[in-house]
């Protein structure tokens, strides 16, 4: 059973629109949720992360909304730019371990 699931598999939006990427998880011991993005031929890089003490984390145009009860979170990208086109990975790890569990990723394409 996959512990971290992402949807949709791929998403296309127009420049200026808001892109919404979804993530859900199974393990209730997970308490750290980073989102990584990866551009072609580059390393995955940390974009933004949240811990369950809060239900929202904002960093510029990127916002994570977190629902602990439903074990769901989403990444909202407002005013999407073509440079945001990448694969986005939701990940999770339990308390005090570095063992990240990744989702399959969402491929985002932003059309100019």
């Amino acid at each position: 059973q996959q512990q971290v699931r992402q949807s949709p598999q791929s998403l296309t939006v127009w420049e200026g629109e808001t892109a919404i990427l979804n993530c859900s998880y199974e393990d209730s011991t997970f308490d750290y949720f980073p989102w990584y993005w990866q551009f072609p031929r580059e390393s995955p890089a940390l974009l933004i992360a949240i811990r369950p003490v809060s239900n929202k984390k904002e960093d510029g145009r990127f916002t994570i909304f977190f629902n602990k009860r439903e074990k769901k979170l989403s990444l909202h990208i407002t005013d999407s730019q073509p440079g945001d086109s990448a694969t986005y990975f939701c990940a999770a790890s339990p308390t005090n371990t570095g063992k990240l569990t990744f989702g399959d990723g969402t491929v985002l394409t932003v059309k100019p």
């Binding site: 308490d31 580059e42 995955p44 990975f89 790890s93 308390t95 005090n96 063992k99 990744f102």
Partner: protein, 114 residues
């Protein structure tokens, strides 16, 4: 920003041979990780390493796998002997703190076992 390097970027070997994947972590980082990604699947945790010891390993970290970081040089993943199912992209990561802190990833080594 800080960069993790991996050598080589591609490696093709025959089944049964030994292979060593090399990782040059961020210079002041203390925690090191390997992840495996089979084509079309998600990245999966293999092992983490701190202070010369394996801290935790997954069921994917078979007996044929070993890791070390001799004298603060490369952090290595050795597979001996290799099997066809070891074909994957292997990502190295490092972090300054353990636990739930940012891991910096390398670009991956694509291993093909024939």
């Amino acid at each position: 920003g800080p960069k993790v390097l991996q050598i080589p970027s591609h490696q093709i070997i025959d089944m049964g041979q030994m292979v060593t994947l090399n990782c040059d972590p961020v210079s002041n980082h203390l925690y090191f990780y390997w992840y495996k990604q089979i084509l079309g699947q998600q990245m999966e945790f293999l092992v983490n390493f701190y202070n010369g010891k394996v801290m935790e390993k997954s069921k994917l970290f078979k007996d044929q796998f070993s890791v070390e970081r001799p004298d603060g040089s490369y952090f290595t993943l050795k597979i001996q002997p290799t099997a066809l199912e070891d074909s994957a992209v292997y990502f190295c990561a490092s972090s300054f703190w353990g636990g739930s802190y940012e891991q910096y990833f390398g670009p991956g080594t694509r291993l093909t076992v024939l």
